[in-house]
Symmetry: C4
Amino acid sequence: MEDVVIRPLDKVTLRDPILIEGLPGVGNVGKLAADYLRDQLPAKPLATIFSKFFPPQVYVSEAGIIRLVSNDLAYWRAPASAAHDLLILGGDYQGISPEGQYEITERVLDFCGQLGVKEVFTLAGFAQGRIVDQPRVLGAATAASRVDAMKKFNVVFSRNDPGGGLIGASGLFLGLGRLFGMEGVCLMGETSGYFVDPRAAEAVLRVLTQALQLPIDFSALQAKAQEIDRIAQKIHEAEQHVEGGPSPGPPAREDLGYIG
Amino acid sequence: MEDVVIRPLDKVTLRDPILIEGLPGVGNVGKLAADYLRDQLPAKPLATIFSKFFPPQVYVSEAGIIRLVSNDLAYWRAPASAAHDLLILGGDYQGISPEGQYEITERVLDFCGQLGVKEVFTLAGFAQGRIVDQPRVLGAATAASRVDAMKKFNVVFSRNDPGGGLIGASGLFLGLGRLFGMEGVCLMGETSGYFVDPRAAEAVLRVLTQALQLPIDFSALQAKAQEIDRIAQKIHEAEQHVEGGPSPGPPAREDLGYIG
Amino acid sequence: MEDVVIRPLDKVTLRDPILIEGLPGVGNVGKLAADYLRDQLPAKPLATIFSKFFPPQVYVSEAGIIRLVSNDLAYWRAPASAAHDLLILGGDYQGISPEGQYEITERVLDFCGQLGVKEVFTLAGFAQGRIVDQPRVLGAATAASRVDAMKKFNVVFSRNDPGGGLIGASGLFLGLGRLFGMEGVCLMGETSGYFVDPRAAEAVLRVLTQALQLPIDFSALQAKAQEIDRIAQKIHEAEQHVEGGPSPGPPAREDLGYIG
Amino acid sequence: MEDVVIRPLDKVTLRDPILIEGLPGVGNVGKLAADYLRDQLPAKPLATIFSKFFPPQVYVSEAGIIRLVSNDLAYWRAPASAAHDLLILGGDYQGISPEGQYEITERVLDFCGQLGVKEVFTLAGFAQGRIVDQPRVLGAATAASRVDAMKKFNVVFSRNDPGGGLIGASGLFLGLGRLFGMEGVCLMGETSGYFVDPRAAEAVLRVLTQALQLPIDFSALQAKAQEIDRIAQKIHEAEQHVEGGPSPGPPAREDLGYIG
């Protein structure tokens, strides 16, 4: 089989589309943000991406229906007054080997290039290893002009972070994107790195939607963040109890990992 | 060499064949079921599948004859009154890398598609992590119509199981099968996951043979289940003795893994 | 680059050549036997095999000259009275991944098939996990006729050994060889598995040279075996001393691994 | 995508160019030496090499600009009086899998061969596992003539070192280079192997620049070596203090790994 199979679900012509990437990663920040944006706009399904570089796995819905793991492209037609339609890339996994990461990214960029994409935003989390109350949004970009543009939206370009560079899809879509003549920005929401973080996703999305002038309602994402907070609080209390004495079964810490 | 080599042993035209997959996996349930079905019908050899994604290994028979590890397709011509001939896929291994799983599954599906397959049943075990006295058969399917059809045979479509989806051939044959226009069902026999489980295989086969109206005698499979029970019982007694004091060498627990 | 590169060093026409494979493995038995046979006949260089499935490594000679790791084919022209010329395959490594094992074996078999090979002998060690005083030669073959033929030379075809089959080149050359219409035999010299074992290599070679009626002098191989014995004896004595008290630095056990 | 992508940045015709390879490895000796040579000559950018056999990673500059990890070829035009222009290969990584090492090396050699390269110098560190005060330069070569030529520059061709051969790019560029009709030498600076070692890099470069009659100023490299010495000294003192009692936070040992 082809290493990467892109199955079109629709055939569209888009106006100067911008690609927004948000795949699973640190705190699931990028995926949370991209999925939320797709649902709120809402964007429509454009293509499904299968690959032998994903795990050999299907998901089963509550109704018992299977679905092969994939990445997915959706599109959104902007109002006539706006300059750019959008393409949004989400999915279940990043490629599970280095070669797979390169192959999948290159094929998706090639597909998007044919649709006219010249600009890419990648969304990710940045693990701080500590609880982050007010997540900042860190940035990296393909060109100085993009750095300057994003500073206006309070994106932080830090001399030290990310020190070792970016590993995975959010970096690769920009790095390989340059070989396709694309420019772009990576937006990284600060997060602890310990569990999924809708608050960091909101921080990232607020920058993105300001930059692209997208009117998005954040209330559902905030509700999800509060739900996480409640669970985290219960865990915290339970751990206090455990130190002090026995307590009735609280939600396990690992539950947090599945709230997305 | 080709990544996957399919060597035809016979050339046949089949009537609307249904593919039944049962490869090694949890409790060897799928393989036990598929092999038993093949032997009981009996089905005839159709093709041998070699691949560099299997281990570089040969088996040696008691007579000293080597055989390269493989997957194997057999076919069964149904009586004129029945609608579907059968193809049965068994073998020594699943592909040993994720890429290998995809490549092998895709090649076998392509081969079967050319023979007219539009429907797939995959057989597997579902590890419960505890002794299962009366194994239920859990299901997952490609379409709601299949879910409904299988519920009539007491297949359980559970909201929670399998929670993380299915990994391996039984899921992939359905997930990739859809790209070939095939529909299908995965039947999973509940099993402890600790040793090979002919009883779970029987539960799976009973559903399958009811659904496909195949008259199969289960006595040999039941005898094998009783043999496993006897060994498990001896191990249990031996472990009791060990707790109480020394005992003469009982069958080692790992022996169970080789009874197939 | 090509996955496997076969560089011819000579261009020959051979009479019904038989391929003899002996690559590094258990006790280095196969490699010792094949290298010794090649040196004693002596056989002449025919082709060098490079591959990206070998380690990215060069060896450096005592004179400081580098050599890329490889497998190597040599040929021997039998006297006019004999029916078969020989091809001997030796080398530094087997392929270091399962896929690599398949690819290299398939390419070498294809090359040998073009030279007229229809018969293969693979030489290997069989690890018994205990000191073996009088190594037997165990066998496995592609056909019952070969089993019968080898029994005349006291090759043991055991119901239980090798239980799990053969993993690696010695099995694969036979298993894949059948896809090239080749028949063959694997000869496995019993060995402890703890260090290189010229005695097991001699046992294997004695069967092979009887079967092929090759007049080989074994004195140099026996001298090497005695050298190993002496070192093993010293290690044994040193270990006795260590249990009893301090001793002057004896040869380290790992030295044995490098005597080849 | 292509496994290895070579993007030309300039189009040049060179006079009998010699390739000098220095990629990350033991003590980063080869990379330090090649980078220093490139900066001092100075050499000009010729081509950027991307590959799916590198990590899926981008680096971020202090200004926030991303750059996909790569290897890089630079060229230097020698004065009219000299016989050879130079090509210098440096970069962020060696290929991260054995296959990747072979693929990248072969593609770069092919590219260099088209530019007329017939001679290769590879630069590396040789880990001694102990502090080395006066690093010698060990050698390995493709031919006896090269061994003799390098002995004049006090390169040591030792019967025992490197015992197990060379693993990685510095060996492979010579080993595969021979398949392209290239000859060459590997120069290995002795180093502890514990941290980056500009002193070993200087030793290697002194041999190379003598052999190629390149006038290079070593003061910046020596300054870097002294900086490492100072940090090592502080660590040493700090460790003394730790044994004797508490001490204010000294530079961590791992800091040394990042000084390049």
